[in-house]
């Protein structure tokens, strides 16, 4: 609550100068009849884009504005294939134009302040948006401070995370392409929870697949802070052993402690590599933090799973990776899309003053590539438990592939095409 009050004071302090532009002023008459309410969605990734799309699809006269910092949607899923040279950036990039054509007002900009009590937010440049309900889909940001020396290395771009797809993906691909044959690619995996549990292991495989073809004397060193592979363990162990023996080395309980120049320091040893790819420890995105919503371990946002409304702030719905996960619920783009549909349905009911769905269901599917052309999945279904007020996986449901294969690679790419269309109204 302190954070909220501070945010409010800050907002009010600057308020006198704010009178000027109100983007919200031109909103409200897109469909016939009066709007049933105004919703602002911040963050146009898998969660936010889907929320905006489904609020229009299901809500009729809901006035929906999506605020996104970037000009285009760039997908994290499939981005490891860009690192391996199997896909191009254009393959994982889509526009927001189709969302505009279904009536979503898309505003490119950065949110600089949220006034939770006053139900308004401010954009860089000074314009403001008011709302009846706010949806935040802020993704993750990094806790670089947990590794000595990491902050400056990330800030200067000397060390890349590539855990948000975009310029980092392009830059890491360049580093991998510039590696000498016989070089070392070392990647560091943070302790769970982090975005996309199988993602680091997929990356290790796909980079190794590329190196096997192009620079076969090279090494891939996978240094994992976790006690074991955190997702699809048996399948990744098999891929490491059967496909990349002699090239890829996996080490558990190998937590990065310090970065000094080009040397990554673990507890008992120093690692030197041609390419250091460090996936830092993570928390909910900066936007959630500055709004004072990190009420779970000072790291994640607690939510009411029936509505996705923050348990720290009324009227603010939070989606995706930023949330404090329900048991066995992964931080994934697929899950963020599912969160968004729960939120959209609930927000429409709340705006109408009607009861929300008491028995929501969400499900997840994550495909991982182990080469440029073979993939495998993990899937789960999560039903709301009215007693414990959380989502729980259904006993006997879900599971992983029998083996990675080419059919699942086709399904993985079709999954991407369908979820991008579903989220962005393509």
């Amino acid at each position: 609550m302190n954070h909220l009050n501070l945010g409010r004071r800050h907002w009010l302090g600057a308020g006198a100068a704010l009178a000027a532009t109100s983007l919200a002023g031109c909103a409200g008459l897109s469909a016939s009849g009066p709007t049933i309410g105004r919703v602002v969605v911040v963050g146009g990734g898998y969660g936010g884009a889907t929320a905006a799309r489904y609020l229009k699809l299901w809500g009729g006269n809901v006035d929906v504005t999506l605020v996104e910092r970037n000009t285009d949607f760039v997908s994290c899923p499939i981005s490891n294939l860009v690192l391996g040279g199997y896909k191009q950036m254009s393959d994982i990039t889509r526009g927001y134009g189709a969302l505009k054509s279904v009536g979503v007002k898309v505003v490119q900009g950065d949110v600089t302040a949220i006034d939770v009590a006053g139900k308004k937010l401010r954009l860089a440049g000074g314009s403001e948006l008011s709302y009846d309900r706010l949806v935040l889909s802020p993704g993750i940001d990094f806790m670089a401070e947990l590794v000595a020396g990491l902050h400056p290395a990330l800030d200067t771009g000397r060390v890349l995370h590539a855990w948000k797809a975009g310029p980092q993906t392009v830059a890491l691909r360049r580093q991998i392409e510039s590696m000498p044959d016989g070089g070392v690619f070392a990647m560091f995996i943070p302790k769970a929870p982090y975005r996309c549990p199988p993602g680091p292991y997929e990356r290790a495989c796909v980079v190794a697949s590329y190196l096997q073809q192009s620079k076969p004397k090279s090494k891939v060193l996978v240094l994992d802070a976790n006690p074991e592979i955190t997702s699809k363990k048996g399948l990744f162990e098999k891929a490491f052993k059967d496909r990349y023996a002699g090239m890829l080395e996996y080490r558990a309980n190998a937590e990065l402690k310090e970065l000094s120049g080009n040397i990554a320091k673990l507890e008992f040893e120093d690692v030197k590599a041609d390419v250091l790819n460090i996936i830092p420890p993570q928390r909910a995105g900066d936007l959630a933090r500055s709004a004072g919503l990190l009420n779970m371990n000072n790291r994640w946002v607690g939510v009411n799973w029936l509505t996705m409304e923050s348990t720290a702030a009324a009227g603010v719905h939070v989606l995706g990776d930023a949330t404090f996960s329900a048991p066995a619920m992964p931080k994934s783009g697929h899950m963020a899309n599912q969160h968004a549909k729960v939120a959209a349905a609930a927000i429409i009911q709340l705006l109408k003053g009607e009861p929300v769905n008491a028995t929501p269901v969400v499900m997840n599917t994550c495909y991982s590539f182990v080469t440029g052309r073979e993939a495998m999945h993990v899937a789960s279904v999560h039903q709301y438990d009215t007693t414990d007020k959380t989502f729980k996986t259904v006993p006997g449901s879900g599971g992983v592939s029998a083996a990675a294969n080419q059919i699942e690679a086709r399904y993985a790419l079709s999954w991407a095409e369908n979820i991008w269309a579903d989220s962005l109204a393509l």
Binding site: Y54, W415, A421
Partner: protein, 104 residues
């Protein structure tokens, strides 16, 4: 909104008596079917290698999912996902998707 209400009413007519809690939410079938959209397209209008479900008869969708659940129909993934939904939920999903126009 009238259309949605009518569709909901028709559904409950089709599939008979469900629990009161479910009958109270006319959007339940829509919400459940939306969990399929990530792979099978919005309202079941799939693209690429995924199976389109929009406009497929409810009986056929129910039968396919029953076969996935029982193992009669081998699958890469649907045998795992289908077991996460109750038979009542599958009937609602099937009814909703059957009523959707086929995709582009």
């Amino acid at each position: 909104m009238h259309i949605t209400l009518r569709r909901g009413a028709a559904l409950f007519g089709l599939f008979g008596a469900f629990g009161l809690a479910q009958a109270q939410d006319v959007h339940l079938a829509r919400n459940l079917a939306a969990t399929c959209a990530n792979c099978h397209g919005t309202n079941g209008q799939a693209r690429g290698d995924m199976k389109p479900l929009a406009g497929v008869s409810a009986e056929k969708i129910v039968a396919m999912l029953a076969d996935f659940k029982s193992g009669a129909q081998p699958a890469t993934i649907m045998h795992q996902i289908s077991k996460g939904y109750s038979d009542e939920q599958i009937k609602l999903i099937a009814g909703f998707l059957a009523a959707q126009p086929a995709g582009k």
